[in-house]
Subunit: 161 residues, 2 copies
DNA sequence: CAAAGATTGTTTGACAGCAGATGATTGGCG
DNA sequence: CGCCAATCATCTGCTGTCAAACAATCTTTG
């Protein structure tokens, strides 16, 4: 099946991507993110709890009842997407949407016992997932990556003035 | 405007995201990528040449005529997306789609002089864009990030068999 | 108190990204 | 040669994401 017999049009493509990745840090970042996001999505599907749903439960458990607005801002999830995430969680009985008596425009989204149990279950599988996804990196490199991403994400870099 | 007078529901949200980002490297990566992608898109729109179009011209200039298939694989752009990218480039006169005489199923996508000029023009603005986007990182950190992303992107990590 | 403006949750429409099916072509194998 | 699998470009439909519009509510200002 033409191991060495490649036409001119077909020849010169050994690892052009590697070169591109070194020149265009932005492209490399996006492609790596796509791969990781795909892995996270696959893991979430297998686990039966969407990534967004997991994050919402985790934040509610950590900081207590929140408005959808607060969840959106802190988790960097669009508020119109947050609606359906909360819809699903509510239908599963993992959260309740109580009205905030101080501001009846907003909800006080509250995690239920069922939600806490589901969260604990999902949390248990995260370390293995992370270990698997970032297996190729040494602990040092993971630390570096975390620090670098932290810098890139600090406010003022893009979007939010 | 309620500087200190925050209700319980509204209180406990100072920088939960920062904590999340340190625990979930995958989420941090995706959020940072979104921000960078948004910046790249804005820059491309301003420049008048889409990111994908730019990458295609750059690869054609570097390695010579290619099939859309080769472009898709090396640039990590879905082949069905590549169709419209090439449609646009062809309509602008920056590439030609000649048939590959050795395999008439595929094209030999070829960059034109117009395309080369356009590419040079677009390339000129890339260094400033990168410098601006990754301004918060030291040269050392940029090197680390490049190396780490290279590792994450090396084949076999996810997806491809 | 009344009017204007801002904020919260929601719905709608547009658009990119991707999986799968299709038509044309090639190569393998009897 | 004639059939079958594989490949390339393309098209179609689905899903997820985002911007903009909307109603309800709060806040500010006169």
């Amino acid at each position: 099946m033409a191991t060495t017999n490649r036409a001119a049009t077909d020849r010169a493509r050994p690892a052009y991507f590697a070169q591109l990745a070194t020149e265009r840090l932005d492209i490399a970042l996006c492609r790596a993110s796509s791969a990781v996001a795909r892995a996270a999505d696959a893991h979430a599907t297998e686990e039966g709890l969407g990534v967004g749903q997991h994050l919402v439960l985790q934040m509610l458990d950590a900081v207590g009842p929140c408005s959808q607005q607060a969840l959106s801002e802190e988790l960097r999830i669009d508020r119109s997407v947050m609606v359906s995430i909360c819809d699903d969680l509510e239908q599963s009985g993992h959260i309740r949407r109580e009205r905030n008596p101080r501001d009846r425009r907003s909800y006080a989204v509250t995690i239920t016992d069922s939600g806490r149990r589901r969260l604990a279950e999902a949390q248990a599988s995260i370390p293995a997932f992370l270990e698997d996804t970032f297996r190729v990196l040494t602990p040092d490199e993971r630390g570096q990556l975390s620090a670098i991403l932290g810098k890139l994400l600090q406010p003022g870099n893009s979007g939010e003035q």
